[in-house]
């Protein structure tokens, strides 16, 4: 046993040292030939959007920015607006967060808690391949946290989302006032050892449960090792603490803005110090309106109230939904701007960071999921070309009419493009093959330069 432990420990410390060097640090000391790391950020917003407004009317480079996208005017050539994407077989409803990054048509949930196992989500798929290169394989966060997440691991179980700003920050900067890390290393060693011994005494089904424990110990152990190696290199200059309100409580009405801003800043920080390269943020569960309460209305209720009516029949409801949309795109603009204004080598951070923003619903009234509102930003260094509006599957902008044509999903042929194709494209550009992911059939060459 003893020699096994030593080898694992040695392996971990070795890998810890080489992985924990933040890319920026290496970059600073090396020459420009070093390529910046590829990153992916997934920002999930529940409840859909005001569909009369969201999608631009024309495609191509000269499309006119729609009202919610005007917040992104300064970034126009850094993002692409996408129409016509959908999960082909999956239905609508409140399980949309669990589908957004998995594209799993067979998923079933009850009250937003899964009842059937899901399939792996694209962020975890990427993290499985790339996660070893950073201190945290991935960063999964959200306002409701816990099981309310859009990330699922290889076993199809939800990856619990973290919501505790203060803890995330402490772990991010490796807050360790009492020099605890080496001690933690020894502690985890011991309990991993105890678990191995215990394993022999247990029956098969218990072993599976214990394996979860052992895997968790390993994950924490890796973090500790990476933290130890990283500790000495900590640079605090990138942290602007005044941008952080770590005590913001997402369920406390006035704190919603602070919570989201702080969380996005923490995501930025985690990328900036190369703590992780894969981030999934699922704002909150779609049957509530958590961080948006300060707007003065319940977004979920407003969505229902809009009832697919024509915009002029429900002006108040649609105006409120638009307000929520604009609030989110404003946050997005801030976040993208933060990446754009941070220099990285010859370019900026956004160039190697692919940011997928959007919702798993389109029409909030019926929670339908065709023609999803999706924006793709950054990642030009990975080959993406921006500044356009691209409509897939022959999607046209919904225009109010008496036939209520917008209620029908388009007839999709066998060559239809799905949301999974987009997820796969992102994954493959980052360098992680994802053939056959979800409902994917092909890589979307249209998005590339």
């Amino acid at each position: 046993m003893n020699h096994l432990r030593t080898t694992r420990r040695q392996f971990l410390s070795a890998s810890g040292v080489c992985l924990a060097l933040p890319w920026l640090e290496r970059f600073a000391s090396a020459n420009d030939a070093v390529k910046p790391p590829n990153r992916a950020v997934f920002l999930f917003v529940p409840n859909g959007v005001n569909m009369w407004e969201w999608h631009p009317a024309t495609t191509g480079k000269d499309y006119e920015l729609t009202p919610p996208m005007r917040n992104l005017a300064g970034l126009r050539d850094r993002f692409t607006a996408l129409s016509g994407l959908q999960h082909i077989k999956a239905g609508g409803g409140h399980q949309e967060a669990a589908l957004w990054l998995t594209g799993n048509p067979n998923y079933a949930s009850k009250k937003e808690i899964y009842v059937t196992p899901n399939t792996i989500s694209i962020d975890q798929h990427i993290a499985r391949a790339m996660g070893r290169q950073t201190r945290w394989p991935s960063m999964v966060v959200g306002a409701d946290g816990g099981q309310y997440t859009c990330s699922f691991n290889a076993d199809g179980r939800p990856v619990l989302a973290d919501f505790d700003l203060a803890s995330i920050f402490a772990e991010l900067v490796g807050a360790d006032p009492k020099g605890r890390l080496p001690q933690r290393g020894s502690i985890l060693d011991l309990v991993a050892d105890q678990a191995t011994r215990l394993r022999r005494e247990l029956g098969k089904s218990d072993e599976r449960k214990l394996d979860e424990y052992v895997e968790s110990i390993r994950a924490v152990e890796k973090r500790v090792q990476a933290d130890i190696a990283w500790k000495s290199l900590l640079r605090r200059d990138s942290i602007q603490e005044d941008r952080l309100n770590l005590r913001a409580d997402p369920h406390n009405t006035p704190d919603g803005v602070d919570f989201v801003d702080t969380m996005l800043e923490l995501i930025y920080l985690a990328l900036r110090i190369d703590c992780t390269r894969v981030v999934a943020f699922s704002a909150y569960r779609s049957s509530q309106s958590c961080v948006l309460k300060h707007l003065g209305f319940d977004v979920h209720n407003e969505g229902h109230s809009s009832g697919d009516a024509r915009p002029e029949d429900k002006p108040k409801q649609f105006a409120n939904i638009s307000k929520a949309d604009a609030w989110w795109t404003q946050r997005l603009a801030r976040f993208l701007d933060r990446l754009r204004t941070t220099r990285e080598g010859e370019h900026d951070m956004l160039r190697h960071t692919t940011v997928l923003y959007g919702s798993g619903m389109s029409w909030p009234a019926t929670h339908r999921n065709h023609n999803l509102p999706i924006l793709l930003a950054g990642g030009e260094g990975l080959g993406f070309a921006h500044g356009r509006h691209i409509a897939f599957n022959g999607q046209r902008k919904d225009v109010p009419n008496d036939k209520r044509e917008h209620l029908d999903s388009p007839k999709l042929g066998p060559d239809a493009v799905s949301m999974s194709d987009l997820l796969r494209t992102i994954s493959e550009r980052i360098g992680v093959p994802a053939e056959g992911f979800g409902e994917s059939r092909r890589v979307l060459a249209e998005l590339l330069a």
Binding site: G145, D164, S186, Q194, R247
Partner: protein
Amino acid sequence: MPRWSTLGFACLTLLTAGSAIAQAKVESTYADTLAPFLKRHCVECHGAEKSKGGVRFDGPMPDLIDVKLAEQWLTAKRMMAQGEMPPEGKPRPTADELTNVLAWIDDAAARAATITRGGIGRRALRRLTPREYVSTAMDVLGLSFPHFAPDLSKRLPTDTAADGFSNDSNQQSTQPLLLRRSLDLAEQLVDVALPVEPHPSPIRYEVDLREFVAKATDKPSKPKSIFVAYRIDVPAASDGQPSASLSLVGRWSGPNNGRRPQAVTRLDAKRGILLAPNPVIIGNPMECLMLKLPQVPNQGVLRLRARAGASIPAGETAPVLRLSIARQFTIVPIGEIVVTAPADGPAEYVLEVPLALVEADWKGIQRDGHLELQIDNAAALVAPTPLKPDDKRKESEIPTPARNELIVSSLSAEVVEAPSRSAILLAAAKEGETERERARRFLQSFLSRAFRRPVSESEVGSYLGLFDVERKRGVSFLAAYKASLTAALISPQMFYLIEPKDKEQRPLTAWELASRLSYLAWGTSPDEELRARAADGSLLREDELRRQLVRLLDDPRSYALCREFARQWLDLDSVLHIDQATVLAHLTIDRKEDIPWYEAVLRRDLVEESPRLLEELLRKNRPVESLGSCEIVVINDRLARFYGIDGVSGHQFRAVPAPADRRGGLLTQAGCIAAGSHGRERSEILRGVYLIERILGIDIPTPPGNVQPLDVQLNIDKNLRRLSPREHVETHSSVNTCAVCHQRIDPLGFVWDQYDMFGRLRRDKEGKLVVARTSGKLPDKTPFADIDEFRKRLIEPSSTTPRFADAFNRRLYAYVLGRSLDHGDDKHLSSIQSTTTKTEGGLRDLLTAMVLSEPFRKK
């Protein structure tokens, strides 16, 4: 499907000689009875030629270990039992035939379920729930902070579904996030239990508030603003320390911030400061004492001693002394204590708070260089008398109503090292004992408490090994010892209730049984006596097991069982989370003032009422039915005021005769009604779902995603507003193609029609009771006129309605076993039920029967 191979393995090992005979019987019955029956009645439509619904019954004997197959057969059984199959127009089987067939399906499904699980009492490795984990860690470390406000278990992520029990081992999963947070918490708790060294400069301040009052009232001028602070310096009790300062912050008098007058804090030279209840919960308390310490202690235990009394006018509730840490606009409540000593005979109240466990903005506080402690009266307000529209009086002319007052006559705050460095964790070395021996001695006893069983030499050796490694690394004796304790606290032996495998099913060992029993009754690790009974093995005897169960249930700590079970079963915590802003938005301006939701204390009482009723009925061994029909309510002063019941004083819950509108046990508790109403005015359907799922125990499928809540529909379609609520619901359910379920759900929801979303009697603007139309139907179409008839129907035996008791027993049994029930448990459950019914046993007998049942005592 890798799982099936595992099951096959389990199957082989379990099929011992005895069960092989039983298996042979199952097979012969299938061949003799089932196959001909199926051929005669089923195969025509569900066979090789036609297979309606994708279902076939022409194959060989089904192996119901296949979950899908089992589901299909059980559905078939249900449909045959209810006469839906064979369909109309086809020949009917005779009752005898049917009985045999149904019994065979039952038996086969039960056997399959037991095999799948791997044994009768088998459950997947069960983890301690967050709450159990925190209680266990505190207990084994010898920590106890009865008045500490923050809930430490909230720091660990929950991983079970909202309508399951958190102790359901089938649903639990362990993830890195949980382990990381547990490690953080374990480190902090060990630090609190064994502080490194005493605080370098002792912090201790004492102040007599009567002196403070004397100085404050000397001030000649009238306060200029509505927030005025009188302030004095408080010298340190020990030499060489800077002074602290004490101020009184409050809305002194004058314009009432747009509100009707509330009580105000008063100064009394003889008695001290009389703090009025605080009207505002969101944000800052309006009136409070603020003690500003010039130092920032970052560890140790803050001990606040207050000489305090209470003046409680008739119909009022006892004041609550609340201690918070304040920094700018962030107030973190850290301790609460109810003050009941009389006004003329104040008593000393002591609050102890482990500072290291408080999640305040410590970084900011360090930067400030001082710590602000806030003391206020957090008691609930009485409902104000509504202001009449024709009342032309100015705000200042309206007399302030008599309120309860918290009288504080002296205060002392000190930071001490630890509550009492616990001798069980670490006492002085014995003579001639090396430090390693000392560590071994204490680890030995700590590990056996943390792991809830005797520990082997080699186990102690491993933890001592960690101690050695740390010592070699150069850390102190204490730090190395603490590392071993921390490791034990996050070890799998602490995390899980471990019941190692054996070749065959076996009874639990005495230690395993002690753990199951203790976590069931107290939600924490076994105490000394239970450990002794496990050590001498006497716990395995039925009489001793009964005796211990009685002992545990008689102890007040058994409230943990009632609390966890009732709160999760009835989803009561949702009452705490219903958003205040949402609730406010549903109410009109002139009613805002008396929203009980504003009162955090009252909300917690609403949540506590159901567990307290369960506790009372369990103690008295009353029948299960009394949960749904009861001549008492178990309430405290605040709930009494809320319900309008006279003559109850004091914050402890006690049984009093129920008024006419609260005789339904759980069914007429405001907490349950509020939990079922989800903070919505129009919640008939939600209430129906709540009742059918939680009270009647019928699973309802999830509605499609595009259904709109009733109040939203009202917004969309103005025509709907002309309908009465009942007509509206009827339209809703018929418009949507959901009638199948809603026929069963909707008629139930009206039973609570006389109660509003807070569970109060519904009143109109003038305060008159609204005439409610409470008639409805049970899922089996039995009509009821009102809540009284409803609960009678639930209790009386009937062949078609699921009885309340059945649903309750199922829920309780799942909680007792710590896993979701499956078909294999049915026979145990029904024998428990029939025993209890035969002996006319009460809740206690029921619980005893569950504990004595095979699944609880066997692996």
